[in-house]
Symmetry: none
Subunit: 288 residues, 2 copies
DNA sequence: AGAATTCTGTATGATTTGATACGGAATGAG
DNA sequence: CTCATTCCGTATCAAATCATACAGAATTCT
C-alpha cells in the first residue's frame, strides 16, 4: 500500500476513463479535503456526476465511499498528529507564548540542550547501558520522583537497576556493597541535601562511578562525579523546575533503549504480552 | 471571530455544560478531524449522546452541524495550503541539524500549552488549592513518579495530600472513604492500565471529583473526569514522553502555591528553619 | 428538604446521502 | 455507414444522517 493515496492516484492516472480523470484531478487539486466532502459535493467540484465519483473510488479498490474517506481521514490524522507538522502551522500567539511560566520552561529546555555536552550525554548512555554494572538511582526530596521514573524504565531494558528509596537510614545499607562495578546516578538540585552529598562522597570513595544530573549551579557532588549533566531549573515560582531534568532523563532512557535494542525489544514484548493477557479491555487503535 | 475555532472553544469552555465540555475536549484532542466525522461518531468518541453534540455546536453559534463542518473544513484547507505545512510533511530531516528527540520535546511542550485551556488549568488550580478537600494523587506504571512529585510539593503548601501508592490491593483501602470532599488527581497516558480506570470510575461513583492529566488520546477516564488537561507525549522512542506532563504539573504546583501564598510561605519557612537547624553545611540562601 | 430549573439521553421524524439500475451518448471496428 | 462496445448521466431506492420533541435525571435554589 502506498504511503499516501495521492501518490497512488497519480501513478494510476492512466487507468481511469476520461471523466474519472476529472475526478482524480479535482481530488489532487484539493487533497485530501475534496475527498472528505459528500459525493455530491465532490462531483460538483469535479464537474462530473455522482456515479462517476463512486466508480472512480471503486476503481481505486475501495468497496464503499465510506472506506475511501476513512483512508483519507487516517492519513490526515497521522499528519496532523505529528507535533513537528503542527507547531509549524501554529501562529506565535497560538504557541501559548503569553504565559511567563511557559516561556521560562521552553527557554530552559532550549538552554539546557544548547549547553549539554553531547559527548558527556553519550558517555552516560554507554555507562547506563553497560550490563556488567549495577545501576543505583537516588534523588532528593523532590527529585526522587525522577530517580524513580528513570528506574522504572531502565528496569525494563536492562537488569540490575536499584532505586535507593526510603529514609537515609536505609541508604547506609545500600552503601556497604558498593564498588567499582557500581554506577550511582544522582538527581540533585538547589537546596542540596547533605545526606545525598554524603552518600555520593561515600560511594565515590568506594570506587563506584558517580553520574550527576543537576542544576546549572553545580552541586557539591560534582566534585566526586565522573559525569555531570547540568540543566536549567529557574522559573517564576518559589520552586525550581524539574522539567529539564525530566527531559534529560528521557533522552538517557531513549539512548539506553536504543543501545540495548535487542534486549529492550524482547523485554518490552514480554511486558506487552503480559499486559494483553491481563487486560482484555485494551482499546482499539482507532476510535474515530 | 477567532482565527481558529480551537481558540474559541478553549476560551468559551466555561460557558458549556458539563457534558458539552466533554464534547469540546474530544474535539480539541483530535482537532479538527473529530468534528469532521458524523454526529454519531463524534458523540461516541466523546462518550456523550448525539443531541449533546448538536447542542454544543449550536451553542458555538452554528445554525446547523453542516455549517460547523464547513468552518472546520475551511480552516483545515487553509492550513494545508500553507507552505510551511507542506514542507514539514515532505521531509523530516531537511532541518535535521538538531537532535530530533530534542525537537520533539520542544514541539510537544509548545503544542501542549497551545492546546491547554487556561480556564481548565485555573479551575484545577482552584480545586487543588481548596483546603476543605482532600487531594489523592495516583499514577500508572511510569506516571506514578509524577504523582509522587506533585504530592511532595502539594504537601508543603496545603494539608490533606495523599499519594496513593503501592500495589492496587492497597488502593481499595483508599477507595473506601472517598466522597464529595475528595479530589482524585490521576496521571494516565497510553497503555491505560485497567486498575487505574477502575479506581477512577469507582472514585467518581462515590462522588469524588476526578481530575485527569493525560495524553492527547484521552484516556477512558476522561468520561468520568470533571477536569482534563491533555499533553503531547509522542517522541522518536519506544517510550512516550512525560516531560509535558511534568511541565503541566509544575504549572499546577506554581498556581496552587500562588493561591495559598500565605500558608505556603509559612510552611516553606518552617521547612527552611528545620533544614537550617539540621544542616550547617547549607549554602548561601540566594545565588540566583 | 422540597421545588424549580437546568441538563441530558431515548425515541422518532424529516432530510440527505450513498448506491444502483437503466437508457442514451460517444467512440471505434468492420 | 452500421454495429458493438464502452462510457456517462438521470432517476430512483434503501440506508444513514441530522434534527427535534419529550421525559427522566441531576443540579440549584429557596
Amino acid at each position: 500500500m502506498a504511503s499516501s493515496l495521492r501518490l497512488e492516484v497519480q501513478d494510476r492516472l492512466e487507468e481511469f476513463t476520461a471523466t474519472e480523470r476529472k475526478a482524480a484531478h479535482a481530488l489532487l487539486a484539493n487533497y485530501p479535503l475534496q475527498g472528505l466532502a459528500t459525493v455530491a459535493q465532490f462531483a460538483k467540484g469535479a464537474g462530473v456526476s455522482s456515479p462517476t465519483i463512486l466508480r472512480f473510488v471503486a476503481r481505486l479498490g475501495f468497496p464503499a465511499y465510506a472506506d475511501f474517506q476513512a483512508r483519507l481521514r487516517a492519513e490526515l490524522e497521522a499528519q496532523l498528529n505529528t507535533p513537528l507538522a503542527r507547531s509549524s502551522v501554529l501562529s506565535d500567539k497560538e504557541n501559548g507564548a503569553e504565559d511567563p511560566f511557559v516561556e521560562h520552561l521552553l527557554a530552559n529546555l532550549r538552554e539546557t540542550f544548547a549547553n549539554l555536552p553531547r559527548v558527556e550525554l553519550e558517555a552516560m548512555v554507554r555507562l547506563l547501558a553497560d550490563e556488567r554494572k549495577t545501576i543505583h538511582l537516588i534523588g532528593g526530596r523532590f527529585t526522587d520522583a525522577l530517580a524513580r521514573y528513570m528506574a522504572a524504565h531502565l528496569r525494563i531494558v536492562r537488569p540490575d537497576v536499584v532505586h535507593v528509596a526510603g529514609q537515609h537510614g536505609n541508604w547506609l545499607d545500600q552503601l556497604i556493597g558498593l564498588g567499582p562495578k557500581d554506577v550511582v546516578v544522582i538527581f540533585d538540585i538547589r537546596r542540596y541535601q547533605t545526606e545525598i552529598i554524603h552518600f555520593a562522597e561515600a560511594a565515590a570513595g568506594q570506587g563506584a562511578t558517580v553520574a550527576l544530573i543537576t542544576d546549572s549551579w553545580h552541586s557539591p557532588i560534582s566534585r566526586v562525579a565522573s559525569h555531570v549533566l547540568p540543566a536549567q531549573v529557574a522559573v517564576p515560582s518559589p520552586w525550581d523546575s524539574s522539567t529539564a531534568l525530566m527531559a534529560i532523563s528521557e533522552m538517557l532512557i531513549a539512548g539506553v533503549t536504543r543501545v540495548n535494542s535487542e534486549r529492550s525489544r524482547e523485554r518490552m514484548q514480554a511486558l506487552e504480552d503480559l499486559r494483553n493477557a491481563h487486560d482484555p479491555l485494551r482499546r482499539s487503535p482507532d476510535q474515530l
